[in-house]
Symmetry: C2
Subunit: 135 residues, 2 copies
C-alpha cells in the first residue's frame, strides 16, 4: 500500500508516543484484516499487549526494550516499531496481513490460547521488520 | 488501496456485527492517518460513536438506521457501511483519508468540540459513500 502520509515528520524513536498511537490503529487494522482473511468472514479485534510482548521476544528484539518495561510499555514499543517500518515503506499493509494470516492457527480464535498464538504470528512479522530495519 | 481481502464473503447488511467489527478498525485507522496528516506528526485515536451519529445524520443516511437505535448502534451501522463500501472497492483508504483531512478544522483537536468537528468530516465521507452505494 502506498504510504498516504507524505509530509508527516517523525524520528526513529521507538519510545515515541505518537508513533505508538498511530501504530495501535495500524496493528488493529492489520490484525482485523488477517483474521477476516483467515476465517473468510469480516471480523476484527484489538491486539492484546501480551501478544506484542511475546512477539518482540520471539523476534529477538529484546534490545529495543528498556529494562523494567511492563507489558503495556512493550505494546507501545511494538506499535511504534510497526508504525515506523510502515512509514518507512519497509512493510506494506498487504504484506503484513499476508504474514499474519499465513502464520495463524485455530488457536487465534481460542479464548485462552489466542494471546500466545497471536504473539507467534506477530513474532514472524517482527522478524521481517527487524531484518529490514537492520536492528 | 487494493482490497487485500479476496475470498472473504459478506452480505449487504449494515446490521452485520462482523462488518461493524472490521469497520471499527478501518475507521480508527483512517481517522489516525487523517489526523497524522492534518497535524504533520504521527498520532491517532478512536472515532467516538457520537461522531458517527452526527455523520450519518449529515449525510442523510437516516433511512439505514432502524428506529430507536442508540448512539452505540449508530456507530456500528456507520462502521458496517464503511467496511462494506471499502470491501466493494467504492472507497479506498487513501481517498477516505484525503476527504477527512481536507474537512478537518482545529476543532478536531479540541477536547469538547472534537466530536462535532469529527462528525462533520465523517459526514462528508459518508456523503460520498452514500452516493457510490446508491443509497
Amino acid at each position: 500500500m502506498e504510504n498516504p502520509l507524505k509530509g508527516v515528520s517523525y524520528e526513529k524513536d521507538f519510545k515515541d508516543k505518537g508513533l505508538a498511537t498511530l501504530g495501535d490503529s495500524l496493528a488493529n487494522f492489520i490484525y482485523s484484516l488477517a483474521l477476516s482473511s483467515y476465517t473468510g468472514k469480516p471480523t476484527g479485534g484489538r491486539v492484546p499487549n501480551a501478544a506484542f510482548a511475546i512477539a518482540l521476544e520471539m523476534a529477538g528484539l529484546r534490545e529495543v526494550i528498556p529494562r523494567r518495561t511492563d507489558k503495556h510499555g512493550k505494546g507501545d514499543i511494538a506499535e511504534a516499531l510497526l508504525a515506523y517500518a510502515w512509514l518507512q515503506s519497509k512493510i506494506s499493509v498487504k504484506e503484513a496481513v499476508g504474514i499474519l494470516s499465513h502464520n495463524f492457527t485455530d488457536d487465534v480464535l481460542h479464548p485462552y490460547r489466542n494471546k500466545e498464538a497471536l504473539g507467534k504470528a506477530f513474532g514472524e512479522l517482527f522478524k521481517v521488520i527487524k531484518e529490514r530495519l537492520g536492528l
